[in-house]
Subunit: 357 residues, 2 copies
C-alpha cells in the first residue's frame, strides 16, 4: 500500500513544494501521483481564460502562482475535498485565513485512516482561537482535525527553491517514523532538512518575522527616496534586524512558547528573519508603503501582489492588540511602528518617531 | 582640568569616530581639541604628494582613509607617541597587527596618570599571545599597558556612520563613571549606544564575524558569475548566515568566553554579523576571490583595498589552526571552507564541496 501524498494549497509555496517532492519521488513508497488541492480560479493563459486545475493537469503549468516553472506531471490538481481519497500524508499549505476550510474533509467518506494519517503544516501566520488568543496554524489544524500536526518552517523564499537554489529548512516532527518519511519526501541535494521534536515556537517565529520584514522593507524603501531626508544604511538595517529578533523572542516568551532561545538558531529563527529582511512579499510591501499614503492604503498595497496575501499585515494587528491588552505595547517599538504605519497613519511618519527618539 | 581625548589610529573607523566625537564635543568637559595619533604617510591630494598629518591639520581632510568627508577642526593629528601628553581618555583604533606599537607610550614622560586613564578599544580582530593562543585586542592592550580596557563593538560600517546614517553600538565598560563619560562622548542622535559590563566575548564576535563575512562574499560573488553553475540566492545566504552564527558561538564557547548566548543578541553579535554579510571590506574581498585563482591570491586581493587590512584573512588562519589543534576543525564547515579558499586552493572550488555534501 502506497503512502499517498496530498498537498492542500496551490499557491506559490505549495506549488513549489509539490514540485520539490514530485521531482525524484520514490514511486515504490509514495505511488506515482501527488494530489494537490487547488482553489479553482480562472487564469489567463496564452490569451485564453482557463481553469487553474486544468492548466495544472493538462498543460503542467501554474501561471498564477508559479509562472515560468514546469509543473511535474506527477502532480494532479483536485478541486474538491472529496477527491482527497486514501491519503496517508497531508501537507497543508493554505494562507492561514483559509485553514478553517479543512473542516470539510470527511475522513470516513474519503477512506482516510485518521490514526495513520501524517499531517505537516507549511503555512505561516497566526490564527485566532475562540477566546481571541493568537495560536499557530499547526495548533489550529491539530484542534480542527484532532490529529498531531508537524511543521516545516525555514528561510525559504518559494521562487528561489523552485529555481533550484541551495536552501535549508527545519521540520518539527512528532514520531520517529515521521522523521524518516519527511526526510525522504523533502530532503534534496539543494534542500537540506534538519529535524527537531515538534514545538509551536518553530511556527511562531515564521509568523512574527513578517512584521519585522515589513519594518525592514519600509526602512529600505526610505533609503531610496530622494524626497525623504532620513539617512538609512546597512548599519540601520542591522539595527532593525537585531531589534526585530529581540522583539520576536520577547513576544514568544510572553506567549509562553518554550525553547525560544534554542530554536531561534535554527532555520525557522534567525535564518528566516534574515531572508525576510532581504526579499519576499512582506519586505516588498514595506518598500511600497513609502510610495503611498492615505486611508485606503491596505487595499492599494495588496493590489500589487496578484491575489497573494501579505501575512504580516494581519499578524501585526493580532500582535499589537495582544500586547496592548497586556499593557506592554510600548516595550515593542518595532511592532508599534509597523502597526501605526499600516493601520493608523497610512504613511511612514511613525518611522521618524521611532528612529529619532 | 579637562578630560583630554586621544584617538590612536587615523584609519577609516578611527577617523570616523574622531569626527563623531568632535562634532558637538562638550568643550567644558573634554577641552577644545582631540588628538589623533596618525601613522605618517605621503598622500596625493590635488595633484601633490603631501603628509597625511598636514592634510588633517591644515586642510581638514583625510583623503587616504575618509575621502569626501570634512575632518572636524578640533582634531589634531600627531605623529609621535611623545605628543600624546596629559590625556585622560585613550581610544584605540589600530589594525590589530600594529597594536604592539602602544608599548612605546611612555606614561610618565607624557604626564599621563595611569590610575585615571580610561582606555577603550575599537579594533577588531584577534591577536596571538606568547603561548600562541588567540586573544582579543582589549585583552592584549590590557596586558601591554597594565590598565583595564573597555571596548566598543557593533554593526558599524565606518563610511555609513561618517555619512550620518542611523546606527547603534555596544560598549563593554568597567566602572560606572566610564559608562557616563562614554555615553557623553559617543552617543549621538544617529548613533545609539548600549552598555553592558565588559566581557571579551563582545570582541570575539567582532573578530569571528569577518570569517563569515568572507564566506558570504564568496557565495554572493558566485551568484553573479555566469560561468559558475551553482545557484545561490537569498535562501542560500540565510543558510550561510545561520550556520556562521552557530559556528561563531561554538568557537566562542570552545575558547571559554562566557555570556555568549546573551551577548549574541547585542549589536556586537547578530547585528554585526548581519551588516558584515551585506557590506564591508571582508565581504567585498570574498566577492573578489571568485574572480581570482592561483598561489599569489592574498597579495592580489589586498591590493584592491588601498592599504586597508582584510581582518578576516588572518583571523581565519588563527581560528583554523586553533580548531585543528583541538581536533575539531571538521565540525566547523564554514571556517574550513573559507580557510581552504584563501589559504589552500586559492580558488572557490571548496565552496562546491561545502554546498554539495
Amino acid at each position: 500500500m502506497h503512502k499517498r501524498v496530498a498537498i492542500i494549497g496551490c499557491g506559490n509555496w505549495g506549488a513549489t513544494v509539490a514540485n520539490l517532492i514530485a521531482n525524484g519521488l520514490d514511486e515504490s513508497v509514495f505511488g506515482d501521483e501527488i494530489l494537490m488541492y487547488t482553489h479553482e480560479t480562472m487564469v489567463e493563459y496564452k490569451n485564453k481564460k482557463r481553469k487553474l486545475s486544468e492548466l495544472i493537469n493538462h498543460e503542467h503549468v501554474n501561471p498564477k502562482y508559479l509562472p515560468g516553472i514546469e509543473v511535474n506531471k506527477r502532480i494532479r490538481a483536485v478541486v474538491d475535498f472529496t477527491d482527497l481519497t486514501h491519503i496517508s500524508i497531508m501537507i497543508v499549505c493554505l494562507p492561514h485565513q483559509y485553514l478553517n476550510a479543512l473542516k470539510n474533509i470527511d475522513f470516513i467518506r474519503n477512506g482516510i485512516n485518521k490514526d495513520e494519517l501524517m499531517v505537516i503544516n507549511l503555512s505561516k501566520g497566526l490564527v485566532t482561537d475562540e477566546s481571541g488568543l493568537p495560536i499557530t496554524p499547526s495548533e489550529y489544524i491539530s484542534r480542527l482535525l484532532g490529529v498531531n500536526v508537524s511543521t516545516l518552517q525555514g528561510a525559504n523564499i518559494a521562487n528561489e527553491i523552485a529555481d533550484g537554489c541551495y536552501a535549508e529548512t527545519l521540520i518539527g516532527y512528532h514520531k520517529e517514523e515521521e522523521r524518516e518519511i519527511y526526510a525522504w519526501l523533502f530532503g534534496k541535494r539543494h534542500f537540506r532538512v534538519s529535524f527537531v521534536k515538534y514545538n509551536p515556537t518553530i511556527e511562531m517565529f515564521g509568523a512574527l518575522k513578517n512584521v519585522i520584514s515589513l519594518a525592514m522593507g519600509i526602512i529600505d524603501g526610505m533609503a531610496y527616496k530622494s524626497k525623504i531626508k532620513i539617512k538609512v544604511s546597512s548599519n540601520t538595517k542591522a539595527m532593525i534586524f537585531r531589534k526585530g529578533l529581540v522583539e520576536i523572542m520577547e513576544i514568544a516568551k510572553l506567549m509562553k512558547y518554550d525553547n525560544v532561545k534554542r530554536l531561534v538558531f535554527e532555520s525557522c529563527g534567525v535564518a528566516d528573519l534574515f531572508v525576510s529582511c532581504l526579499a519576499g512579499r512582506n519586505y516588498k510591501c514595506g518598500q511600497l508603503v513609502t510610495d503611498y499614503s492615505g486611508s485606503n492604503i491596505l487595499n492599494e498595497l495588496e493590489s500589487n501582489f496578484n491575489g497573494q496575501k501579505i501575512q504580516g499585515l494581519g499578524t501585526v494587528e493580532h500582535i499589537h492588540d495582544y500586547l496592548k491588552h497586556l499593557n506592554k505595547i510600548n516595550e515593542f517599538e518595532l511592532v508599534k511602528m509597523v502597526y501605526e504605519v499600516f493601520h493608523v497613519t497610512g504613511n511612514v511618519e511613525p518611522v521618524y518617531k521611532y528612529l529619532e527618539k
